[in-house]
C-alpha cells in the first residue's frame, strides 16, 4: 500500500502510453446493430422524443448506424465519446471530430460516453478495453484518437450517401453530404439524415473513405462552446455527486489521518441510535482479495484504512461520523513532525551527490571546478493539492449479477477497472455511468473514491450507496504535487552565458520532466549534469496539472534569470541568445511574440516590474525538438513599499503546432495561467505529526475574481508545425517564474520558494 515506487512506474508508463497507438480494424466501423446498446447519457438535455424508451415504430425508432452514433428520425444525432468531460472540452472535441466528417447539424447533436461494458461484451467495438488504460484518456488531440473519430464520422457519412444514391438510383459520386442532408444537385433532390439512417445502417462499404486533412480552426468554426454548457447554466448538468437512484443511502468517510496508518478502535455504540444511522463499514486495505485476470491494467489505486458511517441521508452520516470515537495507529509516518523537518532533510540531502545521475553530458563538474564565475541558488516547492471543486465521491449498487457505478472519474477505463477489482467480478458484470467531472487537475485519475464506495456497497447489496468526501477529508487524503528542492549551479563564460549547469534535485516524488527535456539542457548548454534523490516518506502523491514540470519550470526559469542578472544582460535578450542555436524555432517565436505584445522593457513606475519565463511540456522526452507545447509568459506586477504584491497582467504566447478551436485554447490558457498563479502565490500543505494540516479553503487560499490579473493570450508564437499538442498543462509552468522574476525587477528581491505569499516583499 505504501509502495510509492510502484505508483511512479505506473504513472510514467501510463503517461508515455499517451502516445501509444490505438488500433481499430476496419471491421469495427462496419458493425451495425439494431439495438441501442450505448452508454449512459450525461448532463445533456434530451428532446422528449429521445428521452422516451426505444420504440419499434419506424417513425420514431432511432437507428444505430455504428456503435459510435445513433441517428433519430427527427435528425437528432447521438454521438458516443470515448473521453469524459472535465472542463477542458474533450468530450465536445470528440463529438466535433466525428461531426466534421459526418457533416451533420451540430445544433441537433447530443453526446454520451461510450459503454465499456458493451466494449467487453461485443468484441471490443470501441477498442477501448484492451491494451492500456490511457488509450482513451488524456488529451483529445492525440493523432491516433483524432483519426479514429474522424473515420467514424466519414464512414457513417459515406453509408448515408450510398443509401440516398440507391433510393434515387443515381451514382453515389453524384450525391453530396451537407449539414445533415444528402443532396443530389442535378435533380435538386435532398433527403434528411433521419430519413436515411435505417437504410444506411445496412450498407456495407467496399472501402473505408479517406478522411479530410484538418485545416486550422476547423472545429472552432463548427462550435465555439462546449456541448454541456447549456445544462451547466441551468443546473441540469449531472456530475458524479448529483447521481441519484431510488432507495439510495449515503456514507461519510474518514481515512487514517496519517497516510499509511491503521484503524485501531472505534465505538459504534456511541452512534448506533443517532437518526438515520444504518451501520459502519471498515475499510481494511490489507484484507486479502481475489486476483482477477483483467485484460487491462489500470493506475495503481488503493484505499487507506478507513471507516465509513452509512445513513439514510448524507447529513446524518456526517453528524454520526463526527460523533464517532475513533483511534488510529498512526504508523511510521508520524515520525515526520513538521514541514521544517522535511525541508531540513531535503536541504541536507542536496549537499550530497544524487542517487541517480539522470543526465551527464560533457564535463559539467570539471567546468564548474575550473570556473571563477559560479552562480548558485536553491529553490523549493511544497506539497500542493489539486483541489477540484467537486469533492471526491462515487455511488455504487452491487447485486448478485451486476455492479453498477456512477463516477466522475477522469479516465473511464480506470473507473471500470477499479469497480471490477474491488467488487471482484469480471468486466462483463460492471456497468459504469460516466458522469461529468467537476474538475480533475490529476486528482481524478486514481478512482480511490470509487474503490471505497464499492467496498461499502458490497455490504449493502441491492441498495445504491453514495459516499461523499468532506472537503477536509479530500484535502488531507490527497495524491499531491510532491515536495521538491533543487540546487542549481552554473559556470558562466566570458560572454556571461552558461558553459555548465549542474542541477541536484531532492524530492518526495519522482520524475524530472520539465528539467531534463527542456531546450537548455538538450545541447544548448554544453556541459549538463542532473542528479536526483528521492526521500522516502509516507505522504501519497500523484499527478497535479503537469507533475514535476510545474516545479522545475520555476527552478530553471528563475535560475536562468539569475544568470542573466549576473551577466548584466536583459532577461529576454539572454534567453534569445541562449536559444540562438535551438532546433525548435517555436521557442524564439514565442519569446518575441509575448515580449512584443506585453510591451517588454517599457518604462514602469517604481515598485512595478515585468518578468519573463518560457518552458515546454508534453514532449515526453522526445528527441524531436518540435514536440510538446512551448509556452512563454510575461508577468507585470506591482509591489507596494509595505510588501503587498499585486499581479496586474499576464501575457502568454505558445506553440502547440496548430490549433483547431481557438476559443477553447484561449479558455485553457487562461485557466492554466490562473492555476499556475494560484500554485505559485498561495498553495502549500504542511505536515504536523505525520498529518496534513490544511483542510479547507480557509487554510488553503484560492485566488478570487478580485485577484485576477488581466490575462492576454497571443497566437503569434504558433509555428504551424504539423502537431496539435496539449494546451491544458503547459501554461502552468512559466507563470510562477515570470512572476518571481518580475518581483525581482520591482524590488530587487529573489523569490526562491513557493508560495510567494509567505515572503517578505517590503522594499525601500
Amino acid at each position: 500500500m505504501m509502495s510509492t515506487i510502484d505508483v511512479s512506474s505506473r504513472l510514467t508508463r501510463g503517461e508515455r502510453a499517451l502516445t501509444a497507438a490505438t488500433s481499430l480494424t476496419r471491421r469495427d466501423f462496419l458493425i451495425s446493430t439494431a439495438a441501442i446498446g450505448g452508454g449512459m447519457a450525461i448532463g445533456i438535455a434530451w428532446p422528449s422524443a429521445v428521452k422516451a424508451a426505444p420504440s419499434n415504430d419506424p417513425a420514431v425508432a432511432p437507428t444505430e448506424v455504428s456503435p459510435w452514433l445513433v441517428i433519430h428520425p427527427d435528425d437528432t444525432v447521438l454521438l458516443r465519446s470515448p473521453l469524459p468531460e472535465s472542463g477542458n472540452g474533450s468530450m465536445t472535441m470528440a463529438a466535433l471530430l466525428i461531426t466534421k466528417e459526418l457533416r451533420s447539424d451540430w445544433r441537433k447533436t447530443r453526446v454520451e460516453c461510450i459503454s465499456l461494458n458493451r466494449d467487453v461484451r461485443s468484441n471490443h467495438v470501441y477498442g477501448a478495453v484492451k491494451g492500456d488504460v490511457f488509450s482513451f484518456a488524456g488529451r483529445s488531440t492525440k493523432d491516433t484518437l483524432m483519426r479514429l473519430l474522424q473515420q467514424v464520422g466519414a464512414s457513417a457519412r459515406e453509408r448515408l450517401k450510398v443509401a440516398a444514391a440507391e433510393r434515387w438510383n443515381v451514382p453515389v459520386s453524384e450525391v453530396e453530404a451537407r449539414n445533415g442532408l444528402i443532396e443530389h444537385a442535378r435533380t435538386g433532390r435532398s433527403l434528411r439524415y433521419g430519413e436515411l439512417a435505417a437504410d444506411a445502417a445496412k450498407v456495407k462499404l467496399d472501402k473505408e473513405p479517406d478522411i479530410e486533412p484538418l485545416e486550422d480552426a476547423a472545429l472552432g468554426n463548427i462550435a465555439r462552446g462546449k456541448i454541456v454548457d447549456a445544462q451547466i447554466v441551468n443546473g441540469n448538468a449531472i456530475y458524479g455527486i448529483d447521481a441519484q437512484a431510488p432507495g439510495m443511502i449515503y456514507g461519510a468517510l474518514m481515512q487514517s489521518p496519517v497516510h499509511g496508518g491503521k484503524l485501531k478502535h472505534y465505538d459504534f455504540e456511541a452512534i448506533r441510535n443517532m437518526p438515520g444511522v444504518l451501520g459502519i463499514v471498515v475499510i481494511d486495505p490489507s484484507e486479502p482479495r481475489k486476483r482477477l485476470d483483467l485484460p487491462l491494467q489500470g493506475i495503481e489505486s488503493w484505499a487507506q484504512s478507513a471507516v465509513v458511517v452509512v445513513a439514510e441521508h448524507y447529513w446524518q452520516a456526517r453528524k454520526a461520523l463526527e460523533a464517532l470515537p475513533i483511534e488510529w495507529d498512526d504508523g511510521p509516518g508520524a515520525q515526520w513532525k513538521s514541514t521544517a523537518q522535511l525541508d531540513q532533510a531535503l536541504l541536507e540531502a542536496l549537499e550530497h551527490e544524487g542517487e541517480k545521475i539522470v543526465k551527464d553530458e560533457g564535463d559539467a563538474l570539471g567546468a564548474l571546478a575550473a570556473s571563477e564565475r559560479i552562480i548558485e541558488a536553491t529553490y523549493r516547492t511544497p506539497y500542493a493539492d489539486q483541489a477540484p471543486l467537486e469533492p471526491l465521491n462515487a455511488m455504487a449498487l452491487v447485486t448478485d449479477d451486476r455492479v453498477e457505478v456512477w463516477h466522475s472519474g477522469s479516465i473511464s477505463a480506470q473507473s471500470f477497472i477499479v469497480a471490477a477489482e474491488e467488487a471482484e467480478v469480471p468486466f462483463e458484470k460492471v456497468h459504469l455511468h460516466q458522469c461529468l467531472v467537476g474538475g480533475n487537475f490529476g486528482r481524478r485519475n486514481f478512482g480511490d473514491d470509487l474503490r471505497i464506495v464499492v467496498a461499502v456497497a458490497k455490504k449493502f447489496p441491492g441498495r445504491p450507496v453514495k459516499v461523499i468526501w468532506s472537503r477536509e477529508e479530500m484535502m488531507r487524503q490527497g495524491r499531491y504535487r510532491w515536495h521538491t528542492a533543487g540546487k542549481l549551479r552554473a559556470a558562466l563564460g566570458d560572454d556571461g552565458m552558461p558553459r555548465a549547469l549542474q542541477a541536484r534535485i531532492c524530492q518526495t516524488g519522482y520524475g524530472v520532466a520539465g528539467l531534463d527535456n527542456v531546450a537548455y539542457t538538450n545541447g544548448l548548454i554544453p556541459n549538463v549534469r542532473i542528479e536526483t534523490r528521492e526521500i522516502p516518506i509516507h505522504i501519497l502523491w500523484g499527478s497535479y496539472r503537469a507533475p514535476g514540470y510545474n516545479s522545475y519550470a520555476f527552478f530553471v526559469e528563475s535560475f536562468i534569470d539569475e544568470c542573466a542578472a549576473a551577466a548584466n544582460m536583459d532577461p529576454l535578450e539572454y534567453r534569445l541568445k541562449l536559444l540562438e542555436k535551438h532546433a525548435d524555432p517555436g521557442w524564439i517565436k514565442c519569446l518575441r511574440e509575448v515580449a512584443a505584445r506585453a510591451g517588454w522593457g517599457k518604462k514602469l513606475p517604481p515598485g512595478q516590474g515585468q518578468g519573463i519565463a518560457i518552458s515546454n511540456w508534453g514532449n515526453w522526452g522526445s528527441n524531436d525538438p518540435q514536440a510538446g507545447t512551448t509556452a512563454a509568459v510575461v508577468a507585470h506586477v506591482e509591489v507596494s513599499r509595505s510588501g503587498e504584491l499585486r499581479v496586474l497582467q499576464l501575457d502568454i504566447a505558445f506553440d502547440c503546432g496548430r490549433v483547431l478551436n481557438r476559443d477553447a485554447v484561449v479558455a485553457q490558457m487562461e485557466g492554466g495561467m490562473l492555476f499556475g498563479l494560484n500554485m505559485s502565490l498561495n498553495e502549500e500543505l504542511n505536515i504536523a505529526n505525520g498529518r496534513i494540516v490544511e483542510g479547507n479553503f480557509d487554510q488553503y487560499p484560492m485566488l478570487r475574481l478580485a485577484d485576477t490579473p488581466r490575462l492576454n493570450v497571443h497566437f503569434g508564437g504558433l509555428t504551424g508545425h504539423a502537431r496539435y499538442s496539449e494546451i491544458g498543462e503547459p501554461p502552468v509552468g512559466p507563470v510562477g517564474p515570470a512572476v518571481a522574476n518580475a518581483i525581482f525587477r520591482a524590488t530587487g528581491k529573489r523569490i526562491r520558494s513557493m508560495p510567494f505569499r509567505k515572503h517578505d516583499l517590503r522594499w525601500t
Binding site: G87, A230, G235, W315, Q316, L389, S470, G671, M673, L674
Partner: protein, 158 residues
C-alpha cells in the same frame, strides 16, 4: 421535524433534523442537485442560492432558519434558461468544468438586482466564489454583458 419551505415558488414540506444545512435539504431531500457542495464552510460559494432575494451560502444555513422564506435555486433562476446571465454565459463560453458556475450565476444574479450596471469594483466586492478552473475573467465579462442585455431589453420595453 416538519419544516415548510418555498423553493422556486413552490411550497415544500420536509421532515428533517432542523439543524440540517439548507444545501443538503435541497440536494438530498428534495433531489434538486443544481446547488453544489464544495467546501461546507461558506468559503467557495458553490452552494449559493437566494433567500428572499439575497445571495446566501446554503451549506451553513440550518434549514430551520429559512422556514417560510422564499428560496431560489439555479433551477429557478429562469423558467427557460433565458436569464440574461445564462445567455451571456453561453455567448462568452464561461464554464470550464462548470461545477462552481451555478453558485457563480446565483451570486451574479443577486448582484445585478442590486447594481443593474455594476462596476468592476462592485463585481470584485460581491463575486467572491471560487472557480478552480480559472474562469474569472470571463465571469466578469459575462456579468457586464448581461447587464448590457438587461439595459437594452429595458430600453426596448420603455
Amino acid at each position: 421535524m416538519k419544516i415548510d419551505l418555498r423553493v422556486n415558488g413552490k411550497a415544500q414540506t420536509v421532515d428533517v433534523d432542523p439543524s440540517t444545512p439548507l444545501l443538503w435539504v435541497l440536494r438530498d431531500h428534495l433531489g434538486m442537485t443544481g446547488t453544489k457542495f464544495g467546501c461546507g464552510i461558506a468559503h467557495c460559494g458553490a452552494c449559493t442560492v437566494h433567500v428572499n432575494g439575497s445571495a446566501t451560502r446554503s451549506c451553513v444555513v440550518p434549514v430551520e432558519a429559512v422556514a417560510g422564506a422564499d428560496i431560489t435555486t439555479i433551477e429557478g433562476l429562469s423558467p427557460d434558461s433565458q436569464h440574461p446571465l445564462q445567455r451571456a454565459w453561453l455567448e462568452l463560453n464561461v464554464p470550464q468544468c462548470g461545477y462552481c458556475q451555478a453558485g457563480m450565476l446565483m451570486a451574479a444574479a443577486a448582484l445585478l438586482e442590486r447594481f443593474p450596471s455594476p462596476t468592476d469594483e462592485q463585481i470584485d466586492a460581491h463575486i467572491t466564489n471560487i472557480c478552480r478552473c480559472g474562469t474569472y475573467q470571463r465571469v466578469r465579462a459575462a456579468i457586464h454583458r448581461a447587464a448590457a442585455m438587461k439595459k437594452a431589453a429595458a430600453a426596448r420595453t420603455a
